[in-house]
């Protein structure tokens, strides 16, 4: 343990703790613009400087470990003055467009500038005129607003192993941009949006599609329906000041109806359908040896994109079942439209997702138009929905609870945990176990696949056979798992895993790139806890027992993996190599 003093307060921290973190422990807040709890310090902004007694130099608290007997001063006239001058410099290189910025009110730079009460500018503004990159339709990079903190690059390279973003040029011309100065769409970007979730300013934001949704809602010709993703229910509250993990499912149904949606569906329902299809696929491959193992989940669009770009040798291992978003979309425009006798052409499906990549998934392949129309018309992130609710004048938090619309609204506990890493695996195990054994799994919680470890592994005994599973989240953790499979294949050994779940974002969808800002591991845990509580509260905890799912197969699809199910609920993948690191 290290013993030292910060602002004359005794502090004791484990060795290696940075001065910044140590100071937090004694209620001293050192401002920073570049350090993020998820990431190693980049030491770029120069705001977090402090002074050690006896030294003339100011040191960066983000990357300097506390040492024994240090006497740190975090705020004195000189330090604050240097901080202020540095902040003024950063502001002099930043457009003053706060009121029109996607991050207005939620921007770290803006709030720091407010704290410091920066008066009239003494330094002339210089912002290089650079057009934004809107090429992906999912993520918008506004280069002018970038403060070069390097978080997004660290996220893209180290956390996600995507290597789309990098620094180009040098000096004042230094800019964050896709490596090779191409557009983001041409780059290896998988649209996960983690860059936008970690950006301190409005330099990387989701492509705001709320205007299109408002227009549709006000269009009398359109029948607007909506679906909400599993994780959104436990994160949206943060945008309204509630603690992370607060479950707002029923208020959300009510609010969406008030916004003008004719029917409110729950993506949890289609998650259950995904599981029924995917578990059936797994049993085919595992028990009946039809198709290669391991089976790999495919409901995360960033992950499928990443796989097509980097790991296409695993295409045959991918579950062909579509993601819950697309399944709900196609069922709404076929099954529901038929039932309600609505012309599917008039149906306008909006999905509320934790995700920026879901925007890309809408038109990923032709199969996303299986209903004969665009199955899901617009996908909004949690952040966009929060803005819509605030604009609408709905006192969201005080609404009375409401129920979702039949026939695509009821869900099981297995569907709701899709939003957390390991959730898809856990849900699939519950159903696959039943399919294989005809018995219900006694202990439905699969603890081995829960939690925030980057790679989780488990073993489930099914009819005496061992099913080995692995769960990876955060794309940087994928390679390790896949390489184990590759090594075993090459050596002709037994496969290390039979079933693999991958979610692109750390923590799964609750940590998605479209979620409210301020994500860190504490929040990820709180958000997951909200979902696991929802699971426990559900009377039905197995996807195949969801009464509306049972009805769907009985009335519309027939059997899992039937021809009709295949036509509507399954998709394909193609290798699309890009440059790699």
């Amino acid at each position: 343990m290290i013993k030292a003093r910060i602002n004359q307060i005794d502090v004791e921290v484990p060795e290696g703790t940075s001065i910044l973190d140590a100071a937090r422990q004694v209620q001293v807040k050192i401002p920073t613009l570049c350090k993020h709890k998820d990431l190693l310090p980049t030491a770029a902004c120069g705001i977090c400087i402090v002074r050690n007694k006896g030294s003339n130099k100011l040191i960066r608290s983000c990357c300097t470990p506390l040492e024994n007997d240090m006497e740190i001063t975090t705020h004195d006239h000189d330090i604050v003055d240097v901080r202020r001058a540095t902040l003024e410099l950063i502001l002099s290189n930043h457009p003053q467009a706060c009121l029109n910025c996607g991050r207005n009110g939620e921007c770290e730079l803006q709030s720091l500038a407010a704290d410091f009460n920066i008066p009239m500018e003494s330094i002339k503004r210089y912002v290089r005129d650079t057009p934004p990159d809107t090429s992906t339709g999912s993520i918008v990079i506004d280069f002018e607003k970038c403060i070069k903190c390097g978080r997004c690059i660290q996220v893209c390279q180290e956390m996600q192993n995507v290597w789309a973003l990098s620094f180009l040029d040098r000096g004042i011309n230094t800019r964050m941009a896709p490596a090779g100065d191409i557009t983001l769409a041409e780059s290896p970007c998988v649209k996960c949006g983690q860059c936008s979730a970690h950006c301190p300013t409005g330099a990387i934001v989701e492509n705001d599609e709320t205007p299109a949704v408002w227009e549709a809602l006000h269009d009398p010709e359109k029948v607007c329906v909506v679906q909400i993703a599993p994780s959104v229910r436990v994160t949206l509250g943060e945008a309204f000041g509630l603690p992370p993990g607060t479950n707002l499912t029923k208020k959300l149904y009510a609010a969406l109806r008030r916004l003008g949606f004719k029917a409110v569906f729950d993506t949890n329902f289609s998650a259950d359908v995904t599981i029924v299809e995917e578990a059936s696929e797994f049993i085919q491959r595992f028990a009946h040896k039809r198709g290669p193992l391991p089976l790999i989940t495919s409901c995360c669009p960033s992950w499928t994109d990443f796989m097509e770009k980097n790991h296409w040798d695993f295409i045959d291992n991918f579950s062909t079942a579509k993601s819950p978003q697309q399944i709900l979309g196609v069922l709404a425009k076929t099954y529901y439209a038929e039932k309600m006798k609505i012309d599917p052409a008039k149906l306008y499906m909006v999905s509320i997702m934790p995700c920026t990549a879901k925007k890309y998934e809408l038109s990923r392949t032709e199969e996303m138009y299986a209903s004969g129309h665009k199955d899901v018309d617009v996908s909004l992130t949690t952040r966009e929905l929060a803005r819509m609710l605030k604009q609408s004048g709905i006192d969201f938090l005080n609404l009375a609870d409401a129920e979702p619309d039949s026939v695509l609204g009821e869900y099981s506990g297995a569907g709701t945990i899709f939003g957390a890493t390991g959730g898809v695996m856990e849900a699939a195990i519950r159903t696959a176990y039943f399919y294989a054994t005809g018995k219900k799994l006694e202990k439905v919680e699969v603890d081995a696949v829960r939690g925030l470890d980057g790679v989780k592994q488990g073993e489930i005994s099914v009819n005496g056979a061992k099913v080995r599973v692995a769960v990876a989240h955060g794309l940087a953790n994928v390679e390790e798992v896949l390489n184990r499979v590759r090594a075993a294949r090459k050596a002709g050994q037994e496969l290390p895993y039979h079933f693999i779940e991958v979610m692109a974002c750390p923590g799964g969808c609750i940590g998605g790139g479209g979620q409210p800002y301020g994500v860190d591991n504490k929040r990820r845990t709180q958000r997951s806890a909200g979902l696991y509580q929802d699971d426990r509260d559900c009377p039905v905890r197995h996807s195949h027992e969801n009464p509306e799912v049972i009805r769907l197969y009985k009335e519309f699809l027939g059997q899992p993996l039937s021809d009709k199910a295949h036509h509507l609920l399954h998709t394909q993948y193609t290798a699309r190599p890009v440059y790699q690191r």
């Binding site: 120069g46 210089y126 040098r170 000096g171 004042i172 011309n173």
Partner: protein, 660 residues
């Protein structure tokens, strides 16, 4: 070359190789070649073969006389050994036919030796003469004439030749005369002294005490000891004529690694890259890290405007640097070294690469060197020329193939360096000093220099100075001595305004402080730094605002852009300075400049940003009236100033090469 054994090396230490009787050595470093040294070399070779002359033609690096490139050194039978400067093909022809043939020195090209003698040991054969006063009243030819006439009168015509020298090594001392071969030098010679010199000294063999110039040369060559004297492409030359690899032999065979570090500690050698960190401590810290692999890196990323010490050493004496690295590796327990050299130094790269190959062939690199069990290999890595890659952590990132931006320290490279392993990074000059220290002992080195800064330092003196050249002086020598005594003072006899030291990270030292003895600490106190050793002389016509702008622009261009204070601060400050220099500044601008300087110094991540404000701050400190003149004088004053000043601080001396 076949592998050397211990006994071979020991034998070389006892009996060094001898030179051929007659030779011409052409200094083929980048500066020399740019001035036409290859043309000279080829011309000499052509004549030599054509006339079948028994003169050896040798290659060398640079002795440091950049003002006189191309430089050729000649040894002929019965002649004093001399350096010729500003040699072209025609002069080369004259050197062969006159110097080697008729034993006549060539007028206007001889550079007098700095090893001046106080006694006349041999009969005088040649007299060098030069008027070292202001150029306008050049009396050199007059004195050549009167000395020659006087010799005739005494019947010595034909026996003693009077030659107009290019450079005497003594400056502003009126007529200076040097009697060869003894190199007795007279200064402030008057017309009335001519007869005495001829009768007493030339004919009588007596030294005229009242005229004798007794001051010895201020330079002490440790790092440059072999530069210009050996063939950089020849391991045999280095082994045979420069006690090459004897320091390494001593370290490897006679000392433990701890003792080597002890020797370095006794020497007091501090890093010559600029910061002055004790070299022994750097080695010890690296050695103390438990690790299976440690690395040693030679930082050859010299990039300051006007600095060319490292290039010159790498080109002129590559084996010394390699030997220094090998000693460092032995002391630290490293088995792999890297030379990080910028790609703009192709000759340095080529010569170091050749040195590595030669050392490997001779068994001095590789596995189990000299049967001791010590193994070491070295590789060259090219830098793309970014100034910031001279910073340790950025350099490491660059070698690893990453973007060359600095990372936070700690961890220091000695703990986590290249590929995460303990790494010691030493400057070229530091490593070149090491073999000399091992050879002559730490105490000898510590005997040079000052209390806190031991040894010698190489400076590249450029700008408005008469003789732009490499200078190596003991620490503690004053700037005045370097500029006036070694380099001949300001160009065209103008008044000096200041000397910029330390490159873009340094500051301007005004003329009133030129008497300060140079050390790491004193320069820092004056608001500058030692830096790697660039020294730029400025005269009264140089605008200090323009100088500050020049250096700041360099740092703005070279900033890696990683941290905000440096990236934005430098740019914004440059904009303000530019405004001031156009006469459109306001007094508030100076306040803003000081605030930005403070933020850059205190909040920048690496040395580049922390020191980039130095040229601005030091000119504000010593020449604030110039800034005020711009503020008060407005645009018309600014236009006047820009007409008056050529404002090109990094000027290379003009040295046209004329091919026949």
């Amino acid at each position: 070359m076949k592998p050397l054994s211990r006994t071979d090396l020991e034998a070389l230490a006892r009996s060094p190789a001898s030179d051929p009787a007659e030779w011409i050595r052409v200094q083929l470093d980048t500066g020399g070649i740019a001035a036409g040294a290859e043309i000279v070399f080829n011309e000499i070779n052509r004549i030599r073969l054509e006339r079948q002359l028994p003169i050896a033609l040798l290659r060398a690096g640079s002795v440091g006389y950049s003002f006189a490139d191309p430089v050729v050194e000649v040894q002929a039978r019965g002649m004093p050994r001399v350096h010729y400067g500003r040699v072209d093909a025609q002069v080369a022809g004259r050197i062969i036919s006159e110097h080697c043939g008729t034993h006549q020195l060539v007028d206007e090209h001889v550079i007098a030796t700095r090893r001046r003698s106080l006694t006349l040991t041999d009969p005088v054969t040649h007299i060098l003469v030069r008027d070292t006063g202001p150029e306008s009243g050049n009396k050199t030819e007059f004195f050549q004439f009167s000395l020659t006439e006087e010799l005739k009168r005494r019947g010595l015509a034909g026996k003693v030749q009077v030659v107009r020298a290019l450079d005497m090594g003594v400056y502003d001392k009126g007529i200076v005369v040097q009697l060869l071969p003894s190199a007795v030098t007279y200064a402030n010679v008057l017309a009335s002294d001519v007869a005495r010199i001829v009768t007493k000294s030339v004919a009588g063999g007596k030294v005229l005490e009242e005229l004798l110039w007794k001051e010895t040369d201020k330079q002490v060559r440790v790092v440059l000891r072999n530069c210009g004297a050996i063939d950089p492409d020849s391991l045999e030359d280095y082994l045979g004529r420069a006690q090459g690899y004897q320091g390494f032999r001593r370290a490897l065979l006679e000392l433990t690694p701890e003792q080597v570090i002890g020797e370095l500690k006794a020497s007091g050698l501090r890093g010559r890259g600029g910061a002055g960190f004790p070299t022994w401590l750097k080695w010890q810290l690296t050695r103390a890290q438990p690790a299976a692999q440690r690395y040693v890196i030679c930082n050859g990323d010299e990039g300051d405007p006007g600095a060319f010490m490292d290039r010159s050493v790498l080109e002129s004496d590559p084996h010394s640097v390699l030997e220094g690295m090998m000693i460092a590796a032995y002391a630290m327990g490293s088995s792999q070294g890297y030379f990080y050299i910028r790609a703009e130094y192709p000759r340095a790269v080529e010569r170091i690469e050749r040195a590595i190959v030669q050392a490997r062939e001779a068994g001095l690199l590789g596995e189990n060197i000299l049967g001791t069990g010590f193994s070491f290999n070295a590789k060259v890595r090219l830098g793309a020329g970014a100034f910031v890659c001279g910073e340790e952590t950025a350099l490491i990132a660059s070698i690893e193939g990453k973007r060359g931006s600095p990372s936070p320290r700690p961890p220091y490279p000695s703990v986590r360096g290249l590929w995460g392993k303990p790494t010691a990074i030493n400057n070229v000059e530091t490593l070149a000093s090491v073999p000399a220290i091992l050879l002559r002992g730490g105490a000898w080195f510590a005997g040079l220099g000052t209390e806190s800064s031991k040894g010698t330092k190489v400076f590249a003196v450029t700008g408005k100075v008469r003789n732009a050249q490499l200078v190596e002086v003991p620490m503690g020598t004053t700037l005045h001595d370097i500029v006036y005594d070694v380099c001949g003072g300001v160009l065209d006899g103008k008044d000096i305004k200041g000397v910029q030291t330390g490159g873009p990270s340094g500051g301007v030292i005004p003329s009133q402080h030129l008497d300060t003895p140079i050390s790491y600490e004193t320069l820092q106190k004056l608001g500058s730094i030692m830096g790697s050793g660039g020294m730029l002389v400025m005269d009264q016509h140089d605008s200090m605002v323009e100088v500050a702008k020049f250096y700041l622009r360099f740092c703005v261009d070279e900033s890696c852009g990683k941290c905000a204070p440096c990236r934005i601060g430098g740019y914004q400050m440059l904009q303000i300075l530019d405004r001031i220099s156009r006469g459109r500044g306001s007094p508030a601008d100076l306040v803003t400049i000081r605030r930005i300087c403070s933020a850059m110094q205190k909040a920048s991540l690496c040395g580049l940003g922390q020191t980039a404000p130095n040229p601005v701050l030091s000119t504000l400190r010593y020449f604030d009236e110039e800034y005020k003149a711009y503020l008060e004088g407005g645009p018309s004053y600014a236009r006047k100033m820009s007409r008056a000043s050529t404002a090109e601080p990094a000027r290379e001396p003009a040295k046209p090469a004329v091919a026949p």
